[in-house]
Symmetry: C2
Subunit: 728 residues, 2 copies
C-alpha cells in the first residue's frame, strides 16, 4: 500500500490465559484495542488488568448448568420428525430418536404426546388418528396400530435439547473430553427469565473490567439437528430456521396472542422443516413475528441491565441469533451497541454493514483459531495454510468493504495456535492495516455509487437480505449472485412479493432481479401464481423497468407457461410437458452485445438450467449451452430483460452481471464511470477525499485500467491480492 497506514485500533484480539505474553505481543503487533475471551477460553487477571478494552462473551441460555439440571422441564425444545419407517405388518413400532444424536435430544413425554404430537402416513400423505397410536415413555417409542402395510410412517414429537448445539460443536471439534455438556434453558418461562436476569446482574457485578458484553448470541440457536454418529454427524442445519424456538408454552402464548394454534406439522412440514430455502407459509411468518416480539422484549431487559452497569452490549450475528432479526423492524428496540458477524465473503460483510439501529459493526474474520475449519479441513494443524486462507477470505470480504463500511474486525479461538504459523501473524497484520485504511476513507464520505438501484425479489424480502442461509449450500444461484452484487458500485435492496402487493415496486428501483430454482423461497414458488404480481412487474417493465432472471426465475408449474414472466424474458423452459412442441430456432446473435463486451472466454454458470428455449424470433440469444439458451436479452414495451441460465461468483460473471444491470436499466452509458478494465480488479472512488482505491482480487499480478469521470483513464498494475491507493 502506498498510503500511510493506520496501525492501531478497531481490532479485537482473542486473548488466552496461560499465554499472556503472546496475547500482549500480538495485541501490539495487530494494533488491537480490545481483548476478548472465546467459548472455551478465559482471560487471566494479567490480561484484564491492561488498558485494552475487555470484551467478554456470555451466552445466558447455557450459562449455568446447575440451574439447567435442576430445571430440566425448562430446557429448550423442538419438534423432530422421526425417520420414516415402512410398515411390514399392520403394526409399526417407531424408535423416536433412531437416527438422531441421543446426546443432543431427549424425548419430551412431560407435555402430553396426544396433545402435542402428530403421526403421519407419509405414503398416503394423511395424519393417523390419535386413537390409532400409542406411546411408550420407557422405550421412547410410538406404536401405530392398524397400519397400512408397506406405508411409511413418521412421528412429529417434541424433544428437549440436552446438549446446547454450539458448545456441543466446539466440544467435539476441540476434543473437550469429559467436560460437562451444557444444556440450553428456555427464557419462555418466567422462572427462566428471572434466573437469567439475576445471573446476568451477578455476572456484571463480577466482571468490573469488562467493557463490552458480547452475547453469543441471545436465546435461540439456528436449527441444527445432529444425527446418530454411526450414520451421519448432521441431519439438518438451517441458519434462518425457527425450529429451535418451539415449546408447548410458546405455542400456547402464540395461540393467545394470534388467535389460532400452530401444529407440529407447521414446523415439521413433511420433514422439510421450516427451511429458509422454502417459501414461508403465512403461519410460519406469524410464528417468526411472534418469537421476534418475545426475543426483542426480553432481550431488551438484559441489555438494560448491561447499560445500567455502565457497559456496552454487542450481539454475535450467528449461533443463537434466531428471533433477533437484524433486518426486522424491531431490531432497533434492543438498543444494542454493537453487532458482530463472522464472515468469509463480501455478502456477509454487506449483511452486517446494512443493519440499522446499531452503532458499531464488527467482522469476525476466518479462519477461526481452531485446528480445523467448519468442514473439518485442517487449519491450524499440519496440512493447513491459515495465512493463505485468511488472505483469500479477506480478498473477498474487502470487495464488499470498498462499498459499505464496518467499524471493526477481529478474530476468535485459541491464540496459542498461531505460534506455529508466523506467516499467519504477518498476514493478519497486513489485513488490519488494510482494513483501517479502507475504513478511514468511509469516514464522512461515501464512495462513488452509480445511479442504479437493483432490487432482489425473494419470498423473504428484506428479512433475509443478502440471502445468508448457512455454510452448507454451494452452487445456489442467488447465494453466488449476492456475492457478485456485494462488490458492485451500485445500490442493492431486497424486496418480497408481499412488498410488491402492498406498495408496488419502489420508485427508485431500476432493475428487479429474481434468481433460483422452482419452488424455492428465492425464486418465489407459488407467489408466481398471483396474477397481481405478474401484472405489477409487467406494467413496470413495460414502462421502462429492467428485469434480470437467473436460473428458474418466476418459475411455477401453472397454466400455460413455466416461467410466469416468460413474456418479459422471451424464453421459457421445457420441463417435459410440451416435448412435442417444436421450438423456434433462433440463431445466436453474431455481433458483440453490450452485456458481453470485453468479457473473454466461456462463461461458467455452474450447473445451468437446461432446456430453455426462445419463445419468439425477436428474443436475442447471446449464448447457448448445447441446445439450451444460456444468455438471452429481450425488449418488452420500454423495458428490457436479461435471462441467465445460472450463476456462479466468478470475475467474468460479475462483470456480465454488472453490465447486464446497466443494460436492463436502460442506461448503459452510465456503466463506465469508476470501473476497471481488468475483471479481476475492482476500484472505489471516494469523492470527498479524492482517494481512489484499487484492489487486486486475484493471486496473480494484474494490470488494469481505471475509467474515471469525464473520460479520464488511469493505468496501473498490482501485486497479488494487493491494494493501491491513489490521490486524484
Amino acid at each position: 500500500m502506498s498510503e500511510k497506514e493506520s496501525n492501531k485500533g478497531s481490532f479485537t484480539l482473542p486473548g488466552e490465559a496461560g499465554y499472556e505474553k503472546l496475547t500482549l505481543k500480538l495485541a501490539e503487533k495487530w494494533g488491537a484495542d480490545a481483548i476478548r475471551d472465546s467459548d472455551g477460553t478465559v482471560l487471566s487477571d494479567k490480561i484484564v488488568s491492561t488498558d485494552y478494552d475487555i470484551y467478554s462473551t456470555i451466552c445466558l441460555v447455557r450459562a449455568d448448568n446447575t440451574w439447567a439440571k435442576a430445571n430440566r422441564d425448562k430446557l429448550q425444545q423442538n419438534y423432530l420428525m422421526s425417520f420414516p419407517v415402512t410398515a411390514k405388518s399392520d403394526k409399526v413400532e417407531i424408535d423416536l430418536l433412531s437416527g438422531f444424536f441421543r446426546e443432543q435430544f431427549e424425548v419430551n413425554f412431560n407435555d402430553d404426546p396426544k396433545k402435542w404430537w402428530q403421526v403421519f402416513d407419509r405414503t398416503a400423505d394423511e395424519e393417523v388418528p390419535k386413537n390409532q397410536w400409542t406411546f411408550d415413555s420407557v422405550k421412547g417409542t410410538v406404536t401405530i396400530n392398524k397400519a397400512d402395510k408397506w406405508h411409511k410412517y413418521t412421528v412429529n414429537f417434541l424433544a428437549y435439547r440436552i446438549w446446547e448445539a454450539i458448545s456441543m460443536y466446539n466440544h467435539i471439534t476441540n476434543n473437550w473430553g469429559d467436560r460437562e455438556h451444557q444444556m440450553p434453558v428456555d427464557p419462555i418461562y418466567t422462572e427462566t427469565q428471572k434466573f437469567m436476569l439475576d445471573y446476568l446482574q451477578k455476572w456484571l457485578d463480577e466482571h468490573p473490567k469488562t467493557k463490552i458484553v458480547r452475547f453469543t448470541s441471545l436465546f435461540y440457536n439456528f436449527a441444527w439437528f445432529w444425527g446418530d454418529p454411526s450414520i451421519q454427524r448432521f441431519t439438518y442445519a438451517d441458519w434462518g430456521s425457527y425450529e429451535m424456538t418451539v415449546s408447548p408454552r410458546a405455542m400456547r402464548l402464540f395461540a393467545e396472542a394470534r388467535g389460532y394454534e400452530m401444529t407440529s406439522e407447521d414446523f415439521v412440514n413433511k420433514g422439510q422443516y421450516c427451511s429458509s430455502h422454502n417459501v414461508p407459509s403465512k403461519r410460519l411468518l406469524d410464528w417468526m413475528d411472534f418469537m421476534n416480539e418475545f426475543v426483542v422484549s426480553f432481550g431488551r431487559k438484559c441489555i438494560d441491565l448491561i447499560h445500567a452497569a455502565g457497559k456496552v452490549a454487542y450481539m454475535f450475528y450467528d449461533d443463537h441469533w434466531v428471533g433477533t432479526e437484524p433486518y426486522g423492524e424491531r431490531f432497533k428496540n434492543f438498543e444494542f451497541d454493537g453487532l458482530i458477524k463472522c464472515v468469509f465473503n463480501a455478502f456477509e460483510a454487506r449483511l452486517c454493514s446494512g443493519v440499522k439501529g446499531v452503532k458499531t459493526k464488527e467482522l469476525r474474520l476466518h479462519p477461526y483459531l481452531f485446528p480445523t475449519g467448519l468442514k473439518g479441513e485442517p487449519t491450524f494443524m499440519r496440512g493447513g495454510n491459515p495465512a493463505l486462507d485468511a488472505m483469500r477470505f479477506w480478498a473477498n470480504i474487502r470487495r464488499g468493504l470498498l462499498r459499505a463500511p464496518v467499524d471493526r474486525i477481529g478474530l476468535g479461538g485459541y491464540l496459542h495456535l498461531v505460534q506455529d504459523f508466523p506467516d499467519f501473524v504477518e498476514t493478519i497484520e497486513q489485513i488490519t492495516r488494510e482494513f483501517r485504511t479502507i475504513k478511514q476513507f468511509h469516514t464522512g464520505s461515501k464512495p462513488y455509487t452509480a445511479p442504479l438501484k437493483a432490487a432482489v425479489l425473494t419470498a423473504w424480502g428484506r428479512l433475509r437480505s443478502w440471502v445468508y442461509v448457512g455454510h452448507f449450500i454451494h452452487g445456489m444461484e442467488l447465494y453466488e449472485l449476492t456475492e457478485s452484487l456485494a462488490g458492485l458500485p451500485i445500490e442493492v435492496s431486497f424486496i418480497s412479493f408481499d412488498d410488491i402487493l402492498d406498495k408496488g415496486i419502489p420508485d427508485d428501483v431500476h432493475v428487479l432481479l429474481n434468481a433460483g430454482r422452482i419452488g424455492s423461497a428465492w425464486s418465489g414458488g407459488e407467489h408466481w401464481k398471483n396474477e397481481k404480481i405478474i401484472d405489477n412487474i409487467t406494467q413496470w417493465v413495460a414502462g421502462g423497468g429492467g428485469f434480470i432472471g437467473i436460473g428458474e426465475p418466476s418459475a411455477c408449474q401453472f397454466s400455460s407457461q413455466y416461467f410466469q414472466l416468460s413474456h418479459l424474458m422471451g424464453v421459457d423452459r421445457e420441463i417435459g410437458m410440451t416435448l412435442n412442441k417444436v421450438k423456434i430456432d433462433v440463431p445466436v446473435f453474431k455481433d458483440e452485445h453490450f452485456i458481453l463486451n470485453g468479457i473473454e472466454g466461456d462463461m461458467d454458470f455452474g450447473r445451468d438450467i437446461d432446456k430453455v428455449y426462445a419463445l419468439d424470433k425477436n428474443t436475442t440469444i447471446l449464448s447457448r449451452n448445447e441446445e439450451s439458451v444460456k444468455i438471452a436479452v429481450n425488449n418488452f414495451g420500454k423495458g428490457k430483460s436479461v435471462y441467465l441460465s445460472g450463476f456462479k461468483f466468478t470475475p467474468e460473471n460479475t462483470r456480465l452481471l454488472h453490465r447486464s444491470l446497466f443494460w436492463a436499466a436502460g442506461n448503459p452509458g452510465d456503466y463506465g464511470t469508476w470501473t476497471c478494465s481488468n475483471i479481476r480488479t475492482d476500484c472505489a472512488f471516494y469523492p470527498n477525499t479524492k482517494k481512489l482505491v484499487i484492489i487486486n482480487n486475484s493471486e496473480k499480478e494484474e494490470k488494469t485500467k481505471i475509467f474515471g469521470a469525464g473520460g479520464k483513464t488511469i493505468e496501473t498494475s498490482l501485486e497479488p491480492y494487493a491494494v493501491k491507493i491513489l490521490d486524484l
Copy 2:
C-alpha cells in the same frame, strides 16, 4: 455370411414409371417379389404387367380433391390454440392463425364459435366468459373485451385442414411446385363414408393387376401442426396424438355414446395438446377409445371391399395410423392382411413384430429414396452417403430381428435416385440376403430366450408398447431404454398403472422397469400419488420382485418423498425443498458388482438426473456423478432394486441393463447362456435348427466369445457390421 443365402422373395421394391428397365433390373438384383408405387410415383403398364405382385398405395382421405373441394365443410379439422397475446390495454385482438401455416389451416367459422371455442386468460388460468369476446370471420380474429391488461390470452378454435399433412410434407420436400394441394376429408360424415366406399370400389375395379392394397394409412394423421414458414416450419408433432380426429360431429357422437361432452380444452390442454409424453386423462382415453371404435368399424367396411375384390389389404403403421391402435383390442377386427412399419431402429422392428391379429409384417427401411432425410439432411444428393446410412440403420434393426421376426422388408421413394449411388445398390442386396437368412431361422423355431420377463410400467401401458412417439425426441430415457431392450434375449412387455390396479403385477413378470422424467406419461406422473400402486409394487418387491428405476422413476412431488418408491431404491432426489437436510455420505462400493462386471470405462447416461442421494447407509452406491448417485442397488425384503440416473443406448449401457435385469430378478446365474463377451456383438441361438447367429453392431472388426449352454464357449471374429452363422 457363411450360410447359403436366400436371394429371392420377401422384398418390396418401389417401381417408377419412366424407369422400367431400372425397376426390373433392381427387382432382380434385390430379389423383389412385389413392386409398389409411392406417394408421387406411378407404375407404368410395363411394370404392372410383370409377374411381380403389384402393390398399390391408396389414401382414401386425400384420394379425390374434386370431391374435397366440393365438400369443404367435410374437411378434417382440429383444435388449435392461438399463440399467446399479451393484453396491452383492456381490449385484445387475436389473429387466430398468426404463427401457423396458413396453407395448412383455415379457421372454421361454420360451426358456431360461441359453442365450440373457448378463450382463456393464461396468466390467471381462467376461461374468459363467452360474452366477453367476439369473433370476426372476415378478419379471422377474436377480440377480448374487458381484458386484464398484461395478461396473456389464447383462443381454442376449430380449424379445417386445407392441405393434407403428409402430401404437404412430400410436396415441399420434393419441390412439387404448383401441383394442387390435396385436402383431407373426414369419414365421420356419412356422406364422406359413402363417397370413400364408392371411390374405393371404383379404384379396385380400375386396378385389376394390383394384388396388395396398401392403405397410407387409414383416416387420421398423427398430429402435425405446421408454423408460419417465416418463423418455423413445424410447431407441434406427436405420432400418438388424437388432435387430428376432432370435429363437432365427432364430439356430438361422442357425447351421445359416452354420456358427457368433451371441450376444446380437453384437446388443447393449456397448449400442451394431447402429447404422448403427458399422462393421458381419463377423458382423453375415452375419446381415443371412441375414435378407435369408429376407425375400426368404418375401416373394416373398406377392407371388406378389398377382400371381396380378391385382393389383400395392408396398413402402413405411420402417417394416418391414428385411431387404428395396433396394440389395442379391436385391431384384429380390421382383418388386415399385412402391416408395414417404417423403421430406423430395433424397437420399431419389435413394435411391428409384436402386433397381433395380422399375418404379414413388413419393414420399410430407411433411408427413403428421397434427396433428403426427415431432418432435411442430404441423402440421395451431393453430401449424402445412403449406403452407410442404410447399413447403420440395418445394424440397429437387425438386433431386434434376431429376437422377433417380421415377414418382409422393402423400400419407398423414387427409384431413379439410386442410379448415382452404386454402393447403395450393393448394400441393399447384402441387407436383403441377411434379412432372408435371419427370417428363415425364425420359421418354425424360436431363438433361445432367457427365463426372464421384464415389464415396462408407463401411464400408457400396452397401447404405447415400445414407446414410439415420433422422430423428434432424442435423449429421452425410456426411448433409449426400449432400444436396448429390443435386442436382449429376454421377454419384454408393457403395462400401465391401471393394469396394476385391475390385476396386480402379472405373475410371470420378474422385473418391473420405470423410466423417465417427473410428470411424464413414461414415468407416470400423478399415478404415483395412488397409494394402491405403491402398496402393490412394494408388496411385490418385498416378495422377491425386481425393480429397475431410471432417471426419475416414481417421481411425484407428493408428501415426504420425491421418488415415491425411494424405500425400494434406497435413493431419493433433492429438488430444492430439503436443501438443508444433510445427506448421508455413503462411499462408493469398492468391489466389483455383478451388474458392472466386465464393463469397462465410464458409463455415459446422456443427461443424468442430478442431486440423487442415498437415503440409508445400506444403499449400495456403485457410481457417482459429482456428488450425485449415478448407479445404486438396494435390497428390500426378498426383492432387489437398481437405480440408474439416466440411460442412453450404448453397448456399455445395454450390457449394464442386461446384467441389472438378471440381478434384480434374483437369478444372476441365468445371465450367461447365449451371451457374448464383446458388448458390441450380439448372438441368438435357434435350438430347433441349432443355428447360432452372431452379429457385429460396430463399424470395426470385433472379436468376441459366445457363452453357450453348459459352459461351452466359442470364439470368433467378425468384419464390420458382419453376420456370422454357425451350425452347432
